[in-house]
């Protein structure tokens, strides 16, 4: 199975980059889960938590202020001005 290439970007740094199995975030319309093979989408995220299930099975959670998320051919880009990571 293919995996997702995830980039979590804050205004002042690249927070995390790597392969992941699943990404969960809260868009302004509600919860959004992204699995490999997701259709291309560009959505606005509400302030809240983003969780990334990495390829090795560990889960990373980060809190973001409003931002947006784009999916394009298994590349997920999450952009927010402020990102704080809870679990390393």
């Amino acid at each position: 199975m293919s995996s997702l290439k995830v980039e979590l970007v804050a205004a002042d740094r690249l927070v995390w980059e790597g392969e992941a199995r699943q990404v969960n975030a809260r868009s302004v319309d509600g919860e959004l889960g992204v699995l490999p093979g997701h259709e291309p989408i560009l959505t606005i995220l509400a302030a809240g938590d983003v969780s990334i299930k990495a390829e090795d099975g560990s889960t990373r959670t980060a809190t973001i202020d409003a931002g947006f998320l784009s999916v394009d051919r298994n590349t997920v880009t999450i952009v927010a001005e402020h990102v704080s990571v809870q679990s390393a």
Partner: protein, 299 residues
Amino acid sequence: MGAQQRVYRQRIRSVQATKKITRAMELIAASRVVKARQRVEEARPYAQALTKSLSALATHSNTEHPLTTEVENPKRAGMLVIASDRGLAGAYSSAALKESERLAEHLRADGKEVIPYLVGRKAIAFYKFRRRTSAAEWAGFTDQPTIEAAREISDRLIEDYLKDPAEGGLDEVHVVYTRFKNMVTQEPWVIRIVPLEVVEGTEPPQPSDVAPLYRFEPSAEEVLDAMLPRYVTARVWSCLLSAAASELAARQRAMKSATDNADKLVKTYTRLANQARQAEITQEISEIVGGASALADAK
């Protein structure tokens, strides 16, 4: 010790004290410029991600947005001038201000009214001294800009831009800042940030790389609405960061030449002091010799 000598010694001491200060400032600037450059680098992924998504948005929908629409006959132009808070950075601030004057003249020649927005105490002082008014002023962060500062500036610019022209709305906004090319070259630079052209830093899409059909949530308009102000903020922020790195580099250079100059002065004054001492000794000897021979003659 003769009066002349004492004057020279005092000068030497004073120059040495100044040299210590300029040397310290040079070292501080040198260490901070590294950090400032790092921040410029670290901000790049954010701008790239925004640009990529916006280009996707631009290619997949024909949504019009006031921030991207050219005004047919621009009459009022905003000009954001980024200078420094502190001096002792060589020609850094004056170069940026000079560039802004040039731009203002150019805009006026095109029949546009120029509305200045100022960043940095030096820019504010420049305008105040000439009794000119500005639309807004920000200061206190030029060597370490924060994203909040950038947002504040861009929010104000966007707010004014979207106002009705009759109520003081702007038709375009330019930014004058100092671009950091490398440690020895920083140049005053002008970019126009609105109306936006989403082009900067995007590599042309490869033919094999045809962008897929996007879905926008909640809608293309709303996504655009949310993203464009962020993009403006990111542009302003990258200008601020680049200007901060330039400021520190300019300061380091100015302080280095001041330190070198102090060395030269100390050397010159030491020579002069030695000369004065020798002259004094020579004079004393000739006085003694003259006195002795006068005594011998008197016998």
